[in-house]
Amino acid sequence: MATAVREREAIPAAAPAGEPVFRARGLAKTYRMGEVEVPALQAVDLDLAAGEFVVLLGPSGSGKSTLLNILGGLDAPTSGSVRFLDHELTRADEEELTRYRREHVGFVFQFYNLIPSLTARENVELVTELSERPMDPAEALRLVGLGERLDHFPAQLSGGEQQRVAIARAVAKRPDVLLCDEPTGALDFETGKLVLEVLERVNRELGTTTVIITHNAAIAGMADRVLRLRSGRIVEERRNAARAAPADLEW
């Protein structure tokens, strides 16, 4: 399977740090809910640089998840274009999007979405198996501080531990971009900080471009850049002079 995927490879590997990874222009997304049309995104322009740590802030319904899903190849915009490196995502078909997610994107979700029938290590292996140059699953789990819990099933792990397994699973294939949708949304304060520390460490040590969406403004302090969305538009863009350590965040 891996060979077949490699032969059909269409997208080149990661860009050097600082180079643009994503270039979105005029993105718009409209959902049809029965009779009415609901605009979720309107005329969004966005560039993401390699290695950048970006936080998307906004209340629910502001369009941040829609934007993340389009970047992750889970959803297609109604109009506009998204370029990932040299590749136009908006023109990709289902098969190409699957390959794109498989090779370049790591996802972390609010509700972890682990496979309950697989242990921590096996959940990571599930992804490294698909990957060309993966980390050792055990190493990925050590990276998130779970080196001792390799053979535990999700049901035997706390929420924070489950989320860290999800992060290990996302980063183990060395993705070009890590997309996190409310990664601390289901966690308490202490556990949430622990997870953020792991994300910060991955970004720092592996140089993975990281996008986190949250409605928790306090998290913005740890980002290189903060984008605030409202009603489907980017209403504010801010660069932090220095990234705060997750441990220093308070909310």
């Binding site: 509700f111 979405n113 496979i115 309950p116 029938s117 096996e122 992804v127 198996e129 698909l130």
Partner: protein
């Protein structure tokens, strides 16, 4: 409409695929129930009414010849209510358009009144009035396209006579119109009953003032066995061959067996379908309660009572069951009409109009609803017991472990995909087992459906290829010297003659006895063999008698035991013989001896009753023409013709019911597998969507879900085959009667068809689920908790 009921309708619409599958299975089960139950009631009522209205006799006796006053004396016995002396004779008939001779059973009736017993139902035409006028059985007339006013030729006591048909009739004595024990299926072309005036027959057979057949009814409270014994003693010196009651009356026996059979099948087969219904609803409703935990919580939080919530889920289960019951009742009543038409081909009843009974439909709806409630009860109970606060929280994550299946698969096989699959199976072993059982049951029913074809095919092969190898059977009017074989050999086209001897006798072992025919066969014969259900040929033992297994059971004897033989013909000797062997034959309760042994037992020289002939095909019609006019010949059987008759009657008549069963089996098969796959999709949709997001392709994700279903189906195949064989064995055992036994012969083809049906159902279900899997909304899944 209350909001809860509106939710019910929406849920039904949402689950329409699974609900339709449930409704279809109920339709099949209820349809079968209504059809078979209706037929049971219909046959039972028709038989009872017919017997009563037409005064069907209770005791029957055949003899050689007795003067009429003997009958009057018997009729005057206090144990006897009524008696009717008759003349009954088999003759050869020349039927226009039929090359081979047919056998006509001439039965005497009074010209000036209706018979006191075994009255006729005059279907068309009029009662006999003049000389040589005859009433012909309707089935025989229909098969041979005989009309009122037509004539048939008959050799009556050596004289060629033409009988004029004045009416078509039915008799309670010949509802199942076959020659006698040994025949299994009616052949209306070549056997028919003809009623003629007593005077005509008495004159023709030199029986003036005499009779050779007596039927009677018993006075209230009289003991049948006492009357049988009395009759045997009275009639012995008039050549009585043994009196018997209704239990041993061939037609009565066949009809009664069929009635008993419909009763059993009307319970067994619907029970399987309704069991599957309960199983399907159990799975569907359990899953529904699990996914609607939060809704249950909200309902309860806002004040809906536990019973309202439980009732809501029970109603949801009742909906497809009642819809299925309604459809099944309609289908069942419709099939009943078709089946009544099939029965009309086999059973000659005067009332053929089948009237649906509303009570059966009511019962069917109750049973269908009951199965639904039974299946949904557990889920509804859980919904009722769920405390609202707990219901608000998601269900605890499923616990998994590494199980034995995985260790069995070994480290080499254990990719994460394999592990997911195996651990899912092992997490709920009972559910996996039930799914396997459900699919296996579906396969078993397919096997059962095709087995009916196999059994008929097998019977045909054994009977017409292995047992009967002659072309023509000739039965002589009187036992004759073995020199008759030379006369037969001289007939046109005859290549080989093998004589046989048939003797009426009562076999006795202690208090057990059975009236049958001793068959003397040439042990080196080629044209007739004893072949058992396993297709094994049994050589005739040189000393002693070979019994069919059923007869040996009835008499409770084993090889080596001794039997008393009371011969009911000629000098009526009583002898001891040894049971030399038992053959598990399919048809009848026969006793075989070597021809020479039987002659010695009878203290007669080389006497024969008839012969089997091998005939050169081109000369066949010449031979038939000669046989039709030979006075010494009482009956002629033609194997090819019998085979054709078998094929046209049986194959056509059974096709409807067997095809129906097979169709229903396919529905079960699809219902079970489709539901299993849909539930699996519902339970694991979120997990599979996560895998899709992680970069697994549609095909990979589908193979993970469908792999599990495939594995379950695969495991079900051998179980289904064994279960199918067991059900066939049960059926063969159930169908075992004195008249015939069903062979337990399930062909490889039947298993193949069952495999293909199950595989096709699995494939269709897989495709349906795959389509849903492809449309899985990845974004939506991430927004919701389990």
């Amino acid at each position: 409409m209350s909001p809860l009921d509106r939710k019910l309708l929406r849920d039904l619409a949402h689950l329409w695929g699974q609900m339709t599958a449930v409704a279809l299975v109920v339709t099949c089960g209820v349809g079968m129930f209504v059809t078979l139950r209706s037929m049971h009631r219909y046959l039972q009522k028709t038989q009872a009414g017919y017997y009563e209205q037409y005064r069907f006799a209770e005791v029957f006796a055949q003899l050689k010849r007795a003067p009429l006053p003997v009958a009057s004396r018997i009729a005057a016995l206090p144990e006897v209510a009524a008696a009717e002396p008759r003349i009954v004779m088999d003759v050869l008939l020349d039927v226009p358009g039929l090359p081979e001779p047919a056998t006509g059973r001439l039965v005497s009736i009074p010209r000036d009144r209706r018979p006191a017993l075994n009255d006729l139902h005059l279907r068309r035409g009029r009662w006999i009035a003049g000389r040589d006028e005859a009433l012909v059985s309707e089935a025989f007339a229909r098969a041979n396209r005989l009309e009122i006013g037509d004539t048939v030729g008959a050799v009556i006591h050596g004289r060629w006579q033409r009988l004029r048909i004045v009416g078509l009739a039915l008799s309670p004595e010949y509802i199942y119109e076959i020659r006698g024990a040994g025949d299994v299926f009616p052949d209306n072309h070549r056997f028919g009953v003809i009623w003629m005036a007593y005077g005509d027959l008495a004159a023709a057979f030199d029986l003036e003032g005499a009779f050779n057949d007596l039927v009677l009814t018993l006075a209230p409270g009289a003991s049948e066995s006492a009357v049988l014994g009395r009759l045997d003693r009275e009639l012995a010196r008039y050549g009585g061959v043994g009196a018997y009651g209704r239990e041993d009356h061939v037609s009565h026996r066949f009809v009664s067996d069929e009635i008993a059979e419909t009763r059993v099948t009307s319970v067994v087969i619907p029970a399987i379908f309704l069991g599957v219904t309960a199983f399907l609803l159990h799975i569907v409703m359990s899953r529904l309660v699990a996914t609607q935990r939060d809704q249950i919580a909200v309902l309860k939080a806002f004040g809906y009572s536990d019973s309202a919530v439980g009732g809501h889920f029970l109603k949801l289960a009742l909906a497809p069951a009642l819809a299925g019951a309604a459809a099944g009742s309609a289908v069942g009543l419709w099939f009943a009409v078709g089946l009544a038409r099939v029965y009309a081909r086999f059973y000659q009843f005067p009332v053929l109009r089948y009237e649906p009974e509303p009570g059966i439909v009511g019962l069917a709806v109750l049973i269908g609803g009951g199965a639904a409630l039974f299946g949904a009860w557990d889920a509804a109970r859980r919904a009722m017991a769920l405390p609202p606060a707990e219901a608000m929280r998601p269900e605890a994550p499923a616990r998994f472990h590494k199980g034995w299946l995985e260790r069995l698969a070994g480290p080499g096989l254990a990719s994460p995909e394999t592990r997911i699959l195996l651990r899912n199976l092992e997490r709920r072993p009972w559910k996996s087992l039930l799914s396997v059982l459900g699919v296996a049951l579906a396969g078993a029913i397919v096997v059962l459906g095709w087995y009916a074809f196999d059994a008929i095919q097998y019977m045909k092969n054994v009977q017409f290829r292995a047992v009967q190898r002659e072309d023509v059977t000739v039965v002589l009017r009187e036992p004759s010297s073995s020199a008759v074989r030379h006369a037969l050999a001289g007939l046109p086209g005859v290549l080989r003659v093998e004589p046989f001897r048939m003797v009426a006798a009562r076999l006795r072992n202690g208090h057990r006895s059975y009236r049958t025919t001793l068959q003397g066969i040439d042990p080196r014969g080629e044209l007739r063999r004893v072949v058992d259900r396993g297709f094994r040929r049994h050589d005739l033992p040189p000393d002693g008698v070979l019994l069919t297994a059923r007869l040996a059971e009835r008499l409770d004897v084993r090889p080596g035991d001794r039997l008393t033989v009371e011969v009911l013909e000629g000098a009526r000797p009583v002898r001891e013989v040894m049971v030399a062997g038992v053959a598990d034959e399919m048809i009848g309760m026969s006793a075989y001896l070597e021809l020479g042994d039987l002659n010695r037992l009878m203290r007669e020289g080389g006497t024969v009753s008839g012969a089997w002939l091998a005939v050169d095909p081109p000369a066949r019609d010449d031979l038939y023409a000669r046989l039709k006019r030979l006075p010494a010949v009482a009956g002629v059987g033609v194997r090819e013709a019998a085979l054709r008759g078998f094929e046209s009657t049986i194959a056509e008549s059974f096709r409807l019911s067997i095809s129906t069963l097979i169709g229903f089996a396919c529905v079960i098969s699809f219902g079970v597998i489709y539901n299993g796959a849909r539930i699996a999709l519902s339970e694991r949709g979120r997990e599979l969507a996560s895998l899709r997001i992680l970069g697994f392709s549609r095909a990979e994700v589908a193979s993970m879900l469908l792999g599990e279903q495939a594995l379950l189906t695969l495991a079900a195949l051998p179980l289904g085959a064994s279960l199918g064989f067991a059900v066939c064995a049960l059926l063969a055992f159930r169908f075992e009667s004195d008249l015939f036994r069903l062979p337990l012969a399930v062909s490889a083809q039947t298993y193949l068809y069952a495999f293909l049906t199950v595989a096709a159902s699995a494939l269709a279900s897989g495709l349906a689920v795959r389509r849903r899997l492809d449309r899985l909304d990845l974004v939506e899944v991430l927004k919701t908790r389990e």
